[in-house]
């Protein structure tokens, strides 16, 4: 295929109220090629993408911005409107948010056509069906009439992609289109993007995760602090990274990195070869035949697992597989319909809260969204004091030293004590959540998707921290995630959940090395690797 240049961008700078967000970026997007723009949140990649749609909202300057042969530097709003959707369009991140829950998806997709084409109503409906069929939507005629809330996760993603494709654009921008999706949905979106490439469209893919783009991108540009620090053909960037930061990003990808090997370069020095004692004494955590139904829906069915002391059990599965319900039963937040949970050899659930008061301090939890688990009125110091005092006081100065110790343990500066958690970055918030969970010195931590909302590079430092804490304190982890590469890196044992059941469990190496179940194989095949 002859390489036709669709977008040429030279020396793009964008600033917001004088503060530069993007500095002197140059890139080209060609027909039938995928360019990946990789970097962490705040690196300016989304601003760059939005500038190509005239949506940046800041002060834009560039020495060249050509979109399909047209100089786009001085376009008016209405000029941009004609380009968007027609020539260049964008696949948004969150299908649930991006699609109007009150309108049939067919109409959502057809809206753009109404603006941009002279098609008749019947032709538009026809086109919507075509587009839906082109993204492999089953029963396109039926689905077009349904609302986004009536569709499954996969169909919703397809609808979102179809929406971007309705006007038959030559360039498609995918802004973190796979972030926060479980591995099967990610695979689906990646396959669709590949199809776009094969149709000869230009694709600009934006992601914080190098592993996500590794197989699809022809070229990679790595962004940091508003600048491109390195760019080149994918193989070259992945195999011979020249910039320090690229190496850091590559190292942060947890897939295939052995247990306890650090993922982040900046992490604190750790005891050399970690020596882990073989656990003695009772199992840290043991679940037996846990079941839970909500009405007719069986959320968890006969789930059993053991977690030895000082080890990590990874619980992996897609969204809706029953992982979180299992976690809630283990934590005693949800009463199981049947089955038991033992903590350190003693009955923990089902019991009434006062009856397990003595055991409570041995069980800690960390959530995906730490901010939601903090009282918004409390400062960092108050949250920790509250946890240390068992909720009796948030101001008791006698805990001051312990607060500092906890902050140090999670590598947060004690200067942050008087800050509100809202002012912290995502990684800092999760560190604070970890510090708080460690306050009662728990034996078991239940971590429900603890790094899913974090950039890969931040995720690496948080995972390193968790490793270090486990080595130092011998805390056992029940680690729940949809991300197989994280599970593989963090777990000694793995349990695979599917439709409420654990379909396969065992040592990490054997599950990842020789999976017995078809479903596990399918999951592993969908896992993005470098």
């Amino acid at each position: 295929m002859s390489e036709q240049t669709l977008i040429t961008l030279k020396d793009l700078s964008v600033s917001f109220d004088g503060a530069p967000a993007v500095k002197n970026i140059s890139l080209t997007v060609s027909a039938g090629r995928v360019l990946a723009l990789v970097g962490e949140s705040g690196s300016g990649k989304s601003v760059t993408a939005r500038s190509l749609l005239g949506l940046s909202g800041g002060q834009v300057s560039a020495s060249e911005l050509t979109i399909c042969g047209r100089d786009a530097r001085n376009l008016t709003d209405s000029d941009w409107q004609k380009i968007r959707g027609n020539t260049i369009s964008m696949i948004l991140q969150d299908a649930l948010m991006a699609l109007d829950p009150l309108r049939p998806v067919g109409r959502e997709i057809g809206d753009g056509l109404k603006e941009h084409s002279s098609l008749s109503k019947a032709q538009r409906v026809q086109r919507v069906h075509e587009v839906l069929a082109s993204v492999n939507m089953p029963d396109p005629e039926l689905r077009a009439k349904q609302r986004s809330t009536e569709l499954s996760g996969g169909m919703r993603q397809r609808a979102l992609i179809a929406q971007a494709l309705a006007g038959n654009p030559q360039v498609v921008i995918a802004d973190e289109a796979t972030t926060a999706l479980d591995s099967q949905l990610t695979a689906l979106v990646l396959a669709q993007l590949r199809a776009l490439k094969e149709q000869g469209r230009g694709v600009l893919m934006i992601s914080h995760d190098l592993a996500q783009v590794a197989h699809l991108a022809d070229e990679i540009a790595v962004m940091r602090h508003g600048e491109i620090v390195e760019s080149g053909p994918t193989a070259q960037v992945l195999n011979h990274p020249e910039h320090e930061y690229t190496r850091q990003l590559l190292q942060a990808v947890p897939s295939g990195v052995p247990r306890f090997a650090p993922l982040s370069i900046i992490s604190a020095p750790r005891p050399s070869a970690p020596e882990r004692q073989t656990p003695t004494g009772p199992l840290a955590l043991s679940a037996t035949n846990l079941s839970k139904s909500f009405g007719k829906h069986v959320a968890v069915e006969q789930v059993s697992f053991d977690l030895p002391q000082g080890k990590t059990l990874g619980l992996v599965g897609e969204s809706g597989s029953g992982k979180t319900t299992t976690a809630r039963m283990v934590l005693g937040l949800q009463k199981p319909d049947s089955g038991t949970v033992n903590l350190l050899g003693e009955r923990f659930a089902p019991l009434h809260e006062p009856q397990r008061k003595q055991l409570r301090e041995h069980m800690g939890a960390i959530y995906q969204n730490p901010l939601g688990s903090f009282d918004p009125r409390y400062s960092v110091g108050q949250l920790l004091t509250d946890a240390l005092s068992g909720g009796k006081s948030k101001r008791d100065q006698s805990y001051s030293q312990q607060v500092d110790q906890l902050l140090e343990q999670v590598q947060l500066s004690s200067k942050l004590r008087s800050r509100s958690p809202r002012e912290l970055s995502g990684g800092q918030r999760q560190r604070l959540a970890i510090a708080r969970a460690l306050a009662p010195k728990p034996s078991v931590l239940v971590l429900d998707e603890p790094v899913s909302a974090l950039d890969v590079s931040i995720q690496a430092t948080v995972l390193d921290l968790l490793d270090q804490i486990q080595l130092e304190t011998g805390t056992s982890y029940l680690f729940i995630s949809h991300d197989l590469s994280v599970i593989e890196h963090m777990s000694d044992y793995v349990a695979v959940m599917h439709q409420g059941k654990i379909i396969e469990q065992g040592a990490t190496a054997s599950i990842f090395g020789s999976p017995q179940e078809d479903y596990t194989r399918k999951l592993l095949a969908a896992m993005p690797r470098l």
Partner: protein
């Protein structure tokens, strides 16, 4: 809402506080001093707002009346909120049947217009400042209680509360430290609005002779006293009436401003 409206309201509230706490600063005279020779004086330099049938200075009385109005408004709202917090919290945290019982009682109370209920309460207690506070407080409680209940219900299933459960905090500490403060935060704007409303109701009760009794300088009572002389001394009713309006409007404006702020958090 415009910035000037907010500044204006803040100034009015500030003035109101000065009037309530140190009325002597703005009106050094005695609000009860009778001077029959000066009865029914028109507003002028000697008497800014004129005088009433006994020659008392309306300006002095309006200023000195602020204290009572503020006290009644605040006390009634505090009483209503206090009751609402207890009822709402109990309802939200109770087993379903008790929640249902409390809800039905609240709905029944809600069905009676607040002022009518206040009259009903005063019919039992007899008129006076205390009964007026109780009456206004009780009649506003059901509305607040329903709001508190729904706030607490949504908070009690939040991750924030679960996190404290996992940390082993006792139920009482969870309610005291997290549930009630967080439930009240978004209601502060409503409470400010409620104070303005309570002032109006307290004045209404006094107007009907069921609250503060004459000759005490209370706006509602003054309004009522002036009613008889409306055709020859309009100022007797106008200025206390304006005072009520000014307080209610400024409380509303500030309540709205607070509401906007809470939402943006």
């Amino acid at each position: 809402m415009s910035r000037s409206a907010k500044i204006f309201s803040a100034i009015v509230i500030l003035l109101w506080l000065v009037m309530a706490l140190a009325p002597g600063l703005l009106a050094p005279g005695d609000p009860l001093a009778i001077n029959p020779a000066q009865a029914f004086q028109k507003p002028g330099l000697a008497h800014f707002f004129g005088t009433d049938e006994s020659g008392r200075d309306i300006y002095t009385r309006v200023i000195h009346g602020a204290g009572d109005s503020l006290a009644i408004g605040l006390a009634a709202t505090a009483l209503g909120m206090g009751l609402a917090i207890v009822l709402g919290t109990v309802a939200a945290l109770s087993p379903r049947w008790l929640d249902e019982v409390i809800l039905r009682v609240l709905e029944a109370l809600y069905a009676i217009p607040s002022l009518l209920m206040a009259l009903l309460i005063i019919a039992f207690t007899g008129p006076g400042v205390g009964p007026a506070i109780v009456a206004v407080g009780l009649s506003t409680a059901p509305g607040y209680a329903r709001l508190v209940r729904s706030q607490i219900r949504s908070l009690k299933n939040s991750e924030m509360l679960e996190a404290t459960t996992v940390l082993g905090h006792s139920s009482w500490l969870k309610v005291r430290n997290h549930l009630i403060p967080n439930a009240l935060k978004p209601l502060m704007a409503l409470v400010t609005l409620g104070i303005g409303q309570a002032v109006i109701w307290a004045a209404a009760l006094s107007f009907l002779g069921l609250g503060t009794a004459p000759p005490a300088p209370e706006w509602g009572a003054m309004l009522s006293a002036g009613r008889v002389y409306l055709h020859l001394a309009w100022w007797m009713s106008l200025f206390p009436g304006l005072a009520i309006v000014a307080v209610a409007v400024s409380a509303t404006v500030i309540g709205r401003a607070l509401g906007g702020k809470v939402k943006s958090l």
